[in-house]
Symmetry: C2
Subunit: 801 residues, 2 copies
Amino acid sequence: MIGDAVFPAEPWQVREPSLDLDRLGSTESVFALANGHIGVRANLDEGEPHAIAGTYLNSYYEQRPLPYPEGGYGYPEQGQTLVNVTDGKLIRLMVDDEPFHVAHGHLIAHERILDLRAGVLRRRVDWVSPAGRRVRIRSCRLVSFTQRAVAAIDYEVEAVGHEVRITVQSALVANEEQPQESSDPRVAAALDRPLVAVGQDTEQHGGVLLHRTRASGLLMGAGMDHVVTAPGAYDEETDVRDDWARTTVVTVLRPGERLRVTKLFAYAWSSSRSPQALRDQVAGALTGARYAGWAGLAAAQRAYLDDFWDAADVEIDGDPVLQQAVRFGLFHVLQAGARAERRAIAAKGLTGPGYDGHAFWDTEGFVLPLLTYVAPHAAADVLRWRHSILGQARHRARTLGLDGAAFPWRTIHGEECSAYWPAGTAALHLNAVVARAVERFRQVTGDTALEAECGLEILVETARLWLSHGHHDADGAWHVDGVTGPDEYSAVTDDNLFTNLMAARNLRAAADACARRPEAAARLGVSAGEPGAWRAAADAVHVPYDERLGVHQQSAGFTRYAPWDFTGERPDQPLMLRAPYFQLYRRQVVKQADLVLAMHWCPEEFTAEQKARNVDYYERITVRDSSLSACTQAVMCAEVGHLELAHDYAWEAALVDLRDLHRNTRHGLHLASLAGAWSAVVEGFGGLRDHDGVPVLAPRLPEGITGLRFRLRHSGVRLLVEADHETVRVSMRDGTDTRLPIRLYGEDVELTAGDPVRRPVVPLKPLLSPPEQPPGYKPDRAAPAGRGASDSAVFPRETGR
Amino acid sequence: MIGDAVFPAEPWQVREPSLDLDRLGSTESVFALANGHIGVRANLDEGEPHAIAGTYLNSYYEQRPLPYPEGGYGYPEQGQTLVNVTDGKLIRLMVDDEPFHVAHGHLIAHERILDLRAGVLRRRVDWVSPAGRRVRIRSCRLVSFTQRAVAAIDYEVEAVGHEVRITVQSALVANEEQPQESSDPRVAAALDRPLVAVGQDTEQHGGVLLHRTRASGLLMGAGMDHVVTAPGAYDEETDVRDDWARTTVVTVLRPGERLRVTKLFAYAWSSSRSPQALRDQVAGALTGARYAGWAGLAAAQRAYLDDFWDAADVEIDGDPVLQQAVRFGLFHVLQAGARAERRAIAAKGLTGPGYDGHAFWDTEGFVLPLLTYVAPHAAADVLRWRHSILGQARHRARTLGLDGAAFPWRTIHGEECSAYWPAGTAALHLNAVVARAVERFRQVTGDTALEAECGLEILVETARLWLSHGHHDADGAWHVDGVTGPDEYSAVTDDNLFTNLMAARNLRAAADACARRPEAAARLGVSAGEPGAWRAAADAVHVPYDERLGVHQQSAGFTRYAPWDFTGERPDQPLMLRAPYFQLYRRQVVKQADLVLAMHWCPEEFTAEQKARNVDYYERITVRDSSLSACTQAVMCAEVGHLELAHDYAWEAALVDLRDLHRNTRHGLHLASLAGAWSAVVEGFGGLRDHDGVPVLAPRLPEGITGLRFRLRHSGVRLLVEADHETVRVSMRDGTDTRLPIRLYGEDVELTAGDPVRRPVVPLKPLLSPPEQPPGYKPDRAAPAGRGASDSAVFPRETGR
C-alpha cells in the first residue's frame, strides 16, 4: 500500500523536484502553511491551475441545512462547513502580453521546497513564454507563527536573455469558484459563494475587503500591503471591488534584472465585533508585518521553529524516509495547533476542505498525546476549547435524554454536525477520550491549574454522561449498550470494550479529581453520592472475553460473528465504498484499531499474554480503511515484539500524505495519522507510556533503525531519550532541582539533570509469530526511498535562507 | 387512547351526521373510495375546503432524489412518491352568483354516509346562500368494482323556496396545489406540479387530459363525460386547457325542481404505451360507463359487494362499535385490493399520500391473511406483483452482498426506497413474511398453480437470501445478525427471534416446495445441496431465551438491557418523536409486537406456558406507537386467556381510523390495522390459525360479545363459524364432494356440506393474571358507542338505494 515516493528523502525538507499536475491537489495539502489561526493551501502563486483553492481561518464556517430523506428526533438540522475565505495568496504575473501559466509555454524547471526548520515554502521556476520570453521566478511564503494574523509572500521575477515587460498583479479574491466534489461521504459539501460583501477600502499599497457569511453571519476582513523593489521605474496602482482587490506593478526588466514584490496579507474575523473594528484590526496587523518586514518575519519564524525542534525533534538513524516523514508530521501538527488558541484543531488542520473542516475525537485522541509532550501550551488551549463548548454539549446530552455533557462527534462551533448517528452520536467514547486528555495533561505536564480552570468540569460532566447511559444488570455488572467504538465497521454494539474501559477510566478520573478538589466539585453540584456511584460503575464494568478463543471481544458477541469473505477483494478502495453498513456491521472485519487501541490506551487492563493473543487475532481481520489505525497497530505490534511489522505500520502512518496512501490527501492532511507517526516511533519503538505521571520507557528498535533519539517535555523539564540496539540513555536537560521518577524496562529510576541513566536494551521474545493480515492488506515497506520520484534537481540545494 | 366517536355505531354504514371542518382531513380518508386501481379521497364535490386533495392511480408515481447529508454505499438514490393525479371528482356549484361553499352562507344540514353494502358515498346538503337562496344537494359517488377504470358521481341540486339560477361546473384539474406537510418523517414529501401536459381533447359532453410525470416519465389520461337531466332548458359547454377541462351546465330551477348531472370519469396510465392509445382507452372506458349508466354502475357495485360480504362478513353481537369498525375495515381492505391486479397494495391503500404511497411488509403480513380467506383472487394478485419485482429484489441482494432476492422495505415500483437503512434494509424479515404469504396461500386455498406460476421462485430466492446472510457458529447454531425485527424501537440486533423463526420457516418452505417440484426447482438452478443446507440452517436456528426470567428474548441480550424510564411520560406523542434512536434502541421498550408476533405467526414454536409468560413480560414494555401492534396483542392476549384485554386491543385495532387514534388518518387509512381488526376478532376470539392446510379453530368470546359469526373461504369451499358463550357451530356451505378436516379445540374433525359440527365452548383458565401496560399506555374501551358524536340526524335514515 506504500506508493511511489514523490519527494526525495531529505532530513529537513520536503522537496518536489518538478511539477506534477496530476498530483496538484495532493501537493496543495502537503505544502500547505498554517499557524493554527490561518491556513493557506499551496496553490500556485498565480492561482491557476489549482485542484482546490483554499484559505482558511480557524472556526470561520458557514451553516448549511442537513436534509434527511428520513429524519429522526435529535438529528442535527444544521451543518457547519469551513469556508474558503478571501484568497490573499494570489500573485499573477504577465510576461510581456502573456500570462504566466505552468501549462503554457515551456516549463524548464519547477521546484517547491517545504523547509521544516525555516517554516517557509519556497518555489523556483524557470519558464519560457509561448512568445519565447524567459523568466526565472522565486517565491517564498510563510504564515507567521509569531504574528498570528499575518502571512507573507516574497516574490521575485528575473528576466533571462531578453528585455521583457513584467506585470505583477497581487490580488485578494473572495468567493472563488470551487470544484464540484465527488459523492464520497467523506468529501466536504461544496458551498457556493458564501461570502457577502460588507465593505472595502483602498490603502496606499493595497486594500481591505470585509465580508460576512450568508447564514452563520460571521464577519471577516482580509487586507494586503506590498513592498516593491525594482531596478528601474515602475508603476503601481490598486483597484478594489466588492469581491476583489488588485495591486498591479508594471516595469521593464533587462536581462538579469529582478523585480521583487513582498506581499503582506492579514486576516481578522469575529462573530460579534463591528466591521470597523475588524478593518482596524487588519490594518494593524499589516502595519506590524510591514514593521517587521520580510526579513524580520522570516527570522522570527526560524527562531520559533528552532525552539520547537529543540524539545520536539525525533532523530531516526538508518531510515531516512521515516525520518523525513516523522518531522513532516511534527511540523504539520505544530502548524495546526501552535496558535489555535481556544479554537478547535480540525481533523485536517487548516490544510483542506475535507470533513467540512470539522474537529473529531482525533484531536484529543491522537494529536494531543503528541502536543502534550512537545507543545503543552497548545494542548492546554485545545482543552480550553473543549471546555468552551460545554454548553452545547450539555444541551446535546439533554436532547439524548442523558445527564452531563455529550460532546459532538464532529463540529466546528460546538454543535453536533454528524448527520449519521450510528457513526456519530453513538460514538460516545469521544467523551472518555476528552476526559483522558484532561487526565494526561495533568499527569505529563504536572500542571494542576488547568484542572482547576476547566479540567474538573469536563471530567464531572462526562462522568455524569456515562453514569446516565450505562446500567447495572441483575448481577451488578455495568454495561454500556448501543454505542459505536472506534471501529466504524461495527456500530450500535453492546459493551464495546474500548468504550467500557475508557468510560470506567473517565468515571474514576472524575471521582479522583473531585476528591482532590472537594470545594470546586461542590460548586459544580457534585452530590455526596456521585463519586461513589462513578467508582461503583467503573469497578463493575463488563469486559467481554471469549473463553474459547482466549481473546477479548471488541464488543459483546463480536468473535461469534461471521467472518468477512476476503475472496476477490480489491483493497484499492475502502470497504465502506463497496459494501453496505448492513453487511459490514455484523461481520468480523475491523476498519481501524479498536480493541487494539484499548490495549494501547489502557495498558494496565491486559496481561502481556492477552495483548499478544489479541494483537494476533485482530491483526488478521483489520483492514485499516481509516488513517487512525496504522499508528496504533505500530505501537501494539512493537509492544508484543513484532518489531518489523511495527516498522511497516510506522511507515504507513507517517507516509499517509507524503505518499497519498488514502488517495484523498487533496482534501487535506491526515493530522491524526501524522501525529500517530510520532506515537508509532516514540510509543512504539521508544515504549513511552503515561502512567500516573511517571514516564514509562522501553526502547526496542527494529532492524532497519540503527538509532533513535527523541525529545520530550515532562513535568516542566526537557528529556532526551537516546537508544540503539544495545544501549539506552535517558537524560534530563534542565531543571537542576528536579528529581523525576521514570520507569525504564519496568525498573523505577530517578532522573536528575546532568546524571543520565544508561541501561542495556532488554530484548523481548515475542510470544507468537508475526500475524498475517487479511489478503491484500499487508503493510508494505518495500518501496525504496525516492523510488519513482523524478529526482533530477535542476537547482542546487538550498540550505536555509 | 380510544377517542370520542364521530360516527354513530350503525351496522352497515359509517355516517357523519354533520360536517366537522376540523376533522376534514380524517374524513377525507375515512370516506375515500377505491377499487385497488383508482382511489379518490372524500374531498367535497366542490373541491374546497379540503385538507388534502387526492386522486390516485395504483403505482402511478413520481421519482425524486433522496438527498443524504452523509451518504453510504447501497443507499437508495431515488425515491418514489404516489402522485395526486388529475382530479376528476370536482363539481362546483353556483347558486345565482354565489359559489356554493360549506363555510359561507348557512349550512342547515350536511350528512355523509359511506354505505358498506352499496359501495357508495352519499352526501346530502341543505344550504342557504349569503343572498338567502336555499338549495338541497344530493350526491352519490362510486369507484366501480366492475369497471375498474371508471368512477362516477350522481349529483342533484334542488331549488327550495325561490327560483334560482344554477350553474354546475364539472372539472378535471391537474397539478392541484397541495399543503406543505409537517417534518414528521412519516408524512409523505410534497411534490410540486409533477404532471406535464402531453395533450388534451374536447369531447361531446366532456374532455380528456393527457399528462406525463416529469421524472418517472409515466403517462396518464383522465377523461370525463356527463349526462344531464333538467326540468327545463339548459346550456352545456366544455372548455379544455393544458391543466384543466370544464363542462358547465346552466339552468334556472323553480322551487322543488331539480337539476341532475351524472358525471362519469375514467383513467388510464402506462409506462410504455402511446398518448394516442391512452386517449382511446379513456374514451372506451367512458363509453362503457355511459352504456351502463349510473343505475347500471350502482347495481353492479351492489352485486359485487353482496358476493363479497356473503363469504367475508363478520357478525359481532353485543358490540355495535366493533361490529361497524370490523366491517369498515373489511370494506377498505377490499377497496385497496379488489382490482389491484398485479400492482402493489400500499400501506394506506389509495386513500392518502401517507408513506409516499409505498407498500411495506404490511401487505403480506397483515392484509394478505385476511384477503387469502375472503378474496383469494386479490391475494394471488399481490403475490404475482411480488414476483414481478423479483428482478429489482435480486439486484438489491447483489448490492447488499447477498444471494437470492432482497425485497424492498418500501417501494412502489420495486426498487428500495427506504432512506434509513437500520429500519429499512435491515428489516430483512420482510422476505420471510412474503414467503409465509406464499405458503399460506397454498395451504388455505388449496391452489397449487400459483406456486408453480411464481411461488416457488419467491421461496427459493428468499431462502437463498437467508442462507447467505445467516451463519453457523462454532457450535453449529445458526444465527441471523445485524437485522431489525418488527419492533422499530430496536434495530440492527442479533438473533431477532421473530426473524430467526420466520427465516427458518422460509428455508423449510423452500426446501419442501423444491421437493414437491424437483423439475421446476432444477430450472431455477437449485443445486442438489441447497435444500439440505436450508434445512440444516432452519434446524439449527438459534432461539434466544432468558433462563433466569423464563421468557424468550426479542433479540440476543434484549432482556439484559436497561428498562425504559416511563416516569413523566406523555403518551400523546410516539416515543420516536421525543427520544432519539440512540436511546430507544438499547432499552427494553417495544414499539410494536415483535416477539408476540412471532408467537402469533409461529405458534408451534412455543409452549402454552411460554406464550403466557412472554405475553406477560412484553405487555409491560410495549407502547403500541405503531398501528401494527394492537391487532397482534389482541390475538395473543386472547390465546393466553386475557379475553377482556384482547377485546380492548380489538377495539384499538379496529377504530384506528374511525377514531383517528394515531392522529394521522388525514394522510390515509391504516390498512394493516384495519385488516388486523379482522385478525383480532377471527384469529383472536375465533382462534383461527393456519396449520399445514388444516383450519384450526378455538372460539372463546369476551364478556361484551354475546355472539360471533364469521365466514371464510378454505380449500375452495365457504365456511361459516358461529359461536356464543356456550356453543360453537362450524358449517360448510357448499362443496358437496368435499371432506374438509378441521381442528376444533384441538380435536380433529371432518367437515362436510350439510353436516355442521357443534361443540360446547372449551373455556381456558389463564395461567397468569392480566398484565399491566406501561403507565399511560393502557388500552381503553371505556368510551361508549356514539359518545361525543352529534347524532342529531336531520335526514331520515336511508336503507339502501
